[in-house]
C-alpha cells in the first residue's frame, strides 16, 4: 500500500545557520512568486523585491561562509547536513537534504554576490524594457533554483534545481520572444541540454537502484561515503567500467550539456540572444558553471577506485573533453564578430579549462578557476552590455571603435576583465587560477597532450581578447550615433566586479594556497617556498610568455587599426580558407544538421508514412467493416425494431400526458405531495418497526 507522507524533521542536530540554510534559495523563489503576481508597471517594487531577497540570501550566505571559516579555524572540517524524508512509499523512501561544507559555502557566496551585482546592473540595463517585472521574476526564480543546486545534499534535489535552472535559462534566452532568433535559441538551448540531462537522469536512477539513497552525505550512509562507493566499485558494468565509473560518466554527460562541453556546446553561443545581464549571470558566471560544480560535488564518485596519484576512466574522459573544448572554442572565438558571441565562445573555452582542471588537478583547481572566472566573465559580459547599451544596441565589433574615450569607466573595467581572462601575470586572478590548471596538466600522469592543448588555448585566449578590445575600444568610431557612458547603476557593479577580478587571485597563489586549503580543510600558512617547487617558475614563465605572445600578436594585427566593417579581416586576407571554417564555427551546427536533424527528419517521414499507410489503412479497414455492419443494422432497424418502438412511444406519450397534469408548475402542489409522501413514509416506518 502506498503511503505518502512529508515529514520535515531534520535527522541531524545541525548548527542554527545550517538549519536556516534552506532560506537562501527559498527567499528569492518566494520573491519571484510575489513578483509574478505584480502588474507590469510595478517596476520599483519588483526590482526592490528581487534585489532585497537576494541581498538577504547574500547575508545568510556570508553568515554560512563565516560559520564554515570559524569551524576551519578551529581545525574542524565542517560538513553539516540536514536531511528529511520527502516521499515514503512502503519501506523505501526518498530523502532530500542540504549540506553546508566549504564547497557549497564558497559557491553560495559567489552566486549571491555576482547575482546581486548583476541584479543591480539589470535595473539600469532593462530600464526601458516593458517587461521589466517579468524579467526580475525570472531572474529571482533563477537565483533561487541555482542556490538550491548549490546547497543540495541529494542528487534528486540537485536535479530538481538543475531542471529549474534549465527552465529559467529557457525563459530568459527567449525573453524577447518576439524575435524569432531568440525563440529558436531558447528552444535549442532547452533541447540540447535535455540530451545531457537524460543521461544524467539515467545515472541518478542507476545510482538509486544500486545504493538505495540519493543523499550525498548521511553519516556514512550517503552515496559519496566509503560504504556506498565500495559497493559501486564491486559492481562491474560494461566496457570494463565499474558501476561507479559508468555512473560518473553518465553524470558527466549532464554536466557537459549544462556546461557547454564538446559536443553539446552548440546552444551556448545562440543563448546570447537573451538580455546581456542574463548572459552574464546565467550563461557565464553561474548556471554553466553548475556542470563544473556538479562534477566537483560528486568528485568522490568520479575518483572512486583511483590508485594513489592515479586517475580513473571517468576523470580521464573529463580531462580530454575539457581540454579539447578549451582549444576548440578558443579557435572559433578568433573569427567571431559579435561582441557577445566572442565572449560566449570564450566561456565555453574557459569551462573546458575548468573541466580539465577538475580531471587532472582535483576539486580545488577546477573550483578556483570557476570562482575567478565567474567574477571576470561576469565583468566582461556586463562591460559588453554597457558597450551595447552605449552603442544603442549595436553588437558587431566592427561597427564600434575608439570607445575608450567615450566610455572611460567601461573601458577601464573591461580591460581589467580582459587581462584577467588572458591570465596577465601577477596582478590578475585569471593568471593564478589558470596557472593552477596548467601545473596540474604538466604533472598529469596519463598524457602530456592536454597540457599542450591548454597552453595553445591560453595563447588563443590572449589573442582573441586583444582582437576584441582592439576593435571595440581603440581606433576610431565607425558606428552611427555617437556612444555614451552608461549610468552609475550599471558602472558601479562593473567597478566592484573589477576589484574582485584583480584581488581574488591573492587567495590562490602557490605561496599561499588558501583556497585549496580551505576546500580541503587543511591548515595553511604563508610560505615563499611555494614558488620554489621544481618546474613551477619555469611554468609560470612559459605561461607569461604565451600570454604576452598572444597579446602582442593581437595588438600587432588589430591594435590601433580600424578597418571598415565591409573590409575583410586581417587574418582573412592571409588565410581565407581556415578563417572561413572558423567563422562558420567549424560547421558543428551544420554537422548536426546533416546527421542528427536529418536523421530525425527522415525518421519523422518514416513515422508519417507508417501512420498514413499502415496504421491509417488498418483503421480505415476497420471503419469499412463497421460501416458495412451499420448498413446491415439500419435495414434491420427500419423494418423491424422501429415499429415496436413507435408503438411503445405512443404508449409512453399518452401516459406522459396523464402524468403531466401533476406537473402544474405550482410549488405548493409539489410541496403537498412531498408532505403526503413524508407522512406515508413515517407511517410505514413506524408500522414496520412495531412488528
Amino acid at each position: 500500500m502506498m503511503q505518502e507522507t512529508i515529514s520535515f524533521t531534520p535527522q541531524l542536530a545541525a548548527s542554527p545557520i545550517t538549519g536556516l540554510l534552506w532560506l537562501i534559495p527559498a527567499v528569492p523563489m518566494v520573491a519571484s512568486g510575489v513578483i509574478a503576481l505584480l502588474k507590469q508597471p510595478r517596476r520599483k517594487i519588483s526590482a526592490t523585491l528581487a534585489i532585497g531577497s537576494l541581498s538577504f540570501s547574500l547575508l545568510l550566505s556570508l553568515v554560512a561562509f563565516g560559520h564554515v571559516l570559524a569551524g576551519w579555524a578551529h581545525g574542524a572540517a565542517v560538513r553539516e547536513t540536514v536531511n528529511f524524508t520527502w516521499i515514503q512509499a512502503g519501506t523505501s523512501h526518498v530523502d532530500l537534504g542540504w549540506v553546508l561544507d566549504p564547497l557549497s559555502a564558497v559557491m553560495l557566496v559567489m552566486v549571491t554576490l555576482v547575482g546581486l551585482l548583476i541584479f543591480i546592473y539589470s535595473v539600469g540595463y532593462m530600464e526601458h524594457d516593458e517587461n521589466f517585472t517579468r524579467f526580475f521574476c525570472f531572474m529571482s526564480l533563477f537565483a533561487g533554483a541555482m542556490l538550491g543546486v548549490v546547497i543540495a545534499n541529494s542528487l534528486l534535489l540537485l536535479f530538481i534545481g538543475w531542471e529549474l535552472v534549465g527552465l529559467t535559462s529557457y525563459l530568459l534566452i527567449g525573453f524577447w520572444y518576439q524575435k524569432p532568433a531568440a525563440a529558436a535559441a531558447a528552444k535549442k538551448a532547452f533541447l540540447t541540454t535535455r540530451i545531457g540531462d537524460i543521461f544524467f537522469l539515467l545515472g541518478i536512477v542507476w545510482l538509486f537502484s544500486q545504493t538505495g539513497t540519493l543523499l550525498f552525505y548521511n553519516d556514512g550512509a550517503g552515496t559519496l561515503e566509503a560504504a556506498a562507493l565500495a559497493g559501486l566499485l564491486a559492481q562491474p558494468a560494461a566496457l570494463g567500467l565499474t558501476a561507479a565509473g559508468a555512473i560518473g560518466l553518465l553524470i558527466f554527460c549532464g554536466a557537459a550539456g549544462k556546461s557547454g562541453q564538446l559536443p553539446l556546446h552548440v546552444w551556448l553561443p545562440d543563448a546570447m540572444e537573451g538580455p546581456t545581464p542574463v548572459s552574464a549571470l546565467i550563461h557565464a558566471a553561474t548556471m554553466v558553471a553548475a556542470g563544473v560544480y556538479l562534477i566537483a560535488r560528486v568528485y568522490p564518485l568520479m575518483q572512486a577506485g583511483a590508485l594513489a596519484g592515479g586517475t580513473t576512466t571517468a576523470l580521464t574522459v573529463v580531462t580530454w573533453v575539457g581540454a579539447s573544448t578549451a582549444v576548440f572554442a578558443a579557435l572559433i572565438a578568433v573569427a567571431q564578430n559579435d561582441i557577445k558571441r566572442i565572449l560566449a565562445y570564450s566561456t565555453i573555452s574557459q569551462l573546458g579549462y575548468m573541466m580539465a582542471g577538475l580531471g587532472m588537478g582535483g576539486v580545488a583547481v577546477g573550483m578556483f578557476h570557476l570562482i575567478t572566472h565567474a567574477f571576470f566573465k561576469a565583468l566582461l559580459f556586463l562591460g559588453a552590455g554597457s558597450v551595447i547599451h552605449g552603442c544603442h544596441g549595436e553588437q558587431d565589433v566592427r561597427k564600434m571603435g575608439g570607445l575608450r574615450a567615450d566610455m572611460p569607466l567601461t573601458f577601464l573595467t573591461y580591460a581589467i576583465g580582459m587581462l584577467a581572462l588572458c591570465g596577465f601575470p601577477i596582478f590578475f586572478s585569471g593568471f593564478w587560477s589558470k596557472d593552477g590548471i596548467l601545473e596540474a596538466a604538466q604533472h598529469w600522469s596519463v598524457a602530456k597532450t592536454p597540457f599542450y592543448l591548454l597552453v595553445f588555448g591560453a595563447l588563443l585566449t590572449a589573442f582573441y581578447m586583444t582582437r576584441q578590445v582592439g576593435y571595440v575600444f581603440f581606433g576610431f568610431w565607425r558606428g552611427g550615433k555617437p556612444a555614451h557612458e552608461s549610468p552609475a547603476v550599471m558602472t558601479l557593479p562593473l567597478v566592484i566586479l573589477a576589484l574582485f577580478a584583480m584581488g581574488l587571485g591573492l587567495i590562490g597563489t602557490p605561496a599561499w594556497p588558501w583556497f585549496r586549503a580551505f576546500l580541503e580543510s587543511r591548515t595553511v600558512g604563508f610560505d615563499w617556498h611555494g614558488f620554489a617547487e621544481p618546474g613551477l617558475l619555469a611554468l609560470m614563465g612559459t605561461s607569461t610568455l604565451v600570454v604576452f605572445l598572444g597579446l602582442g600578436l593581437g595588438w600587432k594585427l588589430y591594435g590601433g587599426q580600424s578597418p571598415k566593417p565591409e573590409e575583410p579581416d586581417v587574418l582573412e586576407q592571409t588565410a581565407p580558407l581556415p578563417w572561413g571554417w572558423l567563422r562558420d564555427r567549424l560547421y558543428v551546427d551544420e554537422l548536426y544538421g546533416v546527421t542528427v536533424i536529418a536523421f530525425y527528419w527522415w525518421w519523422a517521414r518514416v513515422a508519417d508514412w507508417l501512420d498514413r499507410r499502415v496504421w491509417g489503412g488498418a483503421v480505415a479497414g476497420v471503419a469499412w467493416a463497421f460501416r458495412g455492419w451499420a448498413h446491415f443494422n439500419r435495414l434491420l432497424d427500419t423494418n423491424w425494431v422501429d415499429g415496436g418502438f413507435d408503438k411503445g412511444c405512443e404508449e409512453l406519450a399518452s401516459s406522459g400526458g396523464l402524468l403531466s397534469r401533476v406537473q402544474t408548475g405550482r410549488v405548493q402542489t409539489y410541496l403537498r405531495i412531498l408532505a403526503l409522501a413524508v407522512a406515508a413514509l413515517a407511517a410505514i416506518l413506524i408500522w414496520s418497526s412495531r412488528a
Binding site: Q668, T669, R672, A675, L676, V678, A679, A682, A683, I686, R690
Partner: protein, 167 residues
C-alpha cells in the same frame, strides 16, 4: 412539566399560528419573531443557553429582519385581491393535519423507548462547546463557513439589480 413550559409553549405556538394565519404580511413576520423568541425560551428551559442566545441572535436579529426587508421590497404588505390563502388551502390543511397526527402518534407511541439520560442539568459551558467545535466538529464548522460564504455571494448575486449599461 413546569408551569413555565406550558406558558412558553403556548406563546410559541400562538406566535406560530399567528404567523401563518394573519392577513397582513408584516404582522405575520412580527408574529414569527414571537415564535422565534418563544423557541429561544424553550431552549433556555432545556438548559441550552448557547443555542438559545444563538437563536435570538440569528433568527430575530437576522432572519426576521431579512423577512421584513423582503416584504417591503416586494410590496408584500398589501393584501392581494384573491385572498391570502391559495385555492387548495383545504387540501394543505388536511395534509398538515395528517402529518401532525402521524408525528404525534409516533411521539406518544415511542417516547418511552428513548433511554433516559442522567437526571439534573448537564454541565455544559460555552468553553465546552468551543472546544467541541474546534476539535470533533471542526470539519463541519469549516464546511458551514464555506456554505455561509457561498450563500452570501449567491444571495447577493441573485438579488442584485442588473442594470442595463446605457453607455
Amino acid at each position: 412539566m413546569s408551569f413555565a413550559f406550558y406558558l412558553i409553549a403556548a406563546l410559541t405556538l400562538a406566535g406560530g399560528l399567528a404567523a401563518v394565519l394573519l392577513k397582513n404580511t408584516v404582522h405575520c413576520a412580527l408574529a414569527l419573531t414571537v415564535a422565534f423568541a418563544g423557541q429561544a425560551l424553550l431552549f433556555l428551559d432545556l438548559d441550552a443557553q448557547f443555542a438559545g442566545f444563538a437563536q435570538i441572535l440569528v433568527y430575530i436579529g437576522a432572519v426576521a429582519i431579512l423577512v421584513v426587508f423582503a416584504i417591503l421590497l416586494t410590496k408584500g404588505s398589501e393584501t392581494p385581491k384573491g385572498g391570502v390563502y391559495s385555492k387548495h388551502w383545504l387540501a394543505g390543511l388536511v395534509i398538515a393535519a395528517a402529518v401532525f397526527s402521524m408525528l404525534g402518534w409516533a411521539v406518544i407511541w415511542s417516547v418511552h423507548a428513548v433511554p433516559r439520560g442522567p437526571v439534573g442539568t448537564p454541565a455544559v459551558t460555552v468553553l465546552d462547546i468551543g472546544n467541541a467545535l474546534m476539535s470533533r466538529y471542526v470539519l463541519p464548522l469549516e464546511i458551514v463557513a464555506l456554505l455561509l460564504t457561498a450563500a452570501m455571494i449567491g444571495a447577493v448575486i441573485i438579488a442584485m439589480h442588473e442594470k442595463e449599461r446605457a453607455k
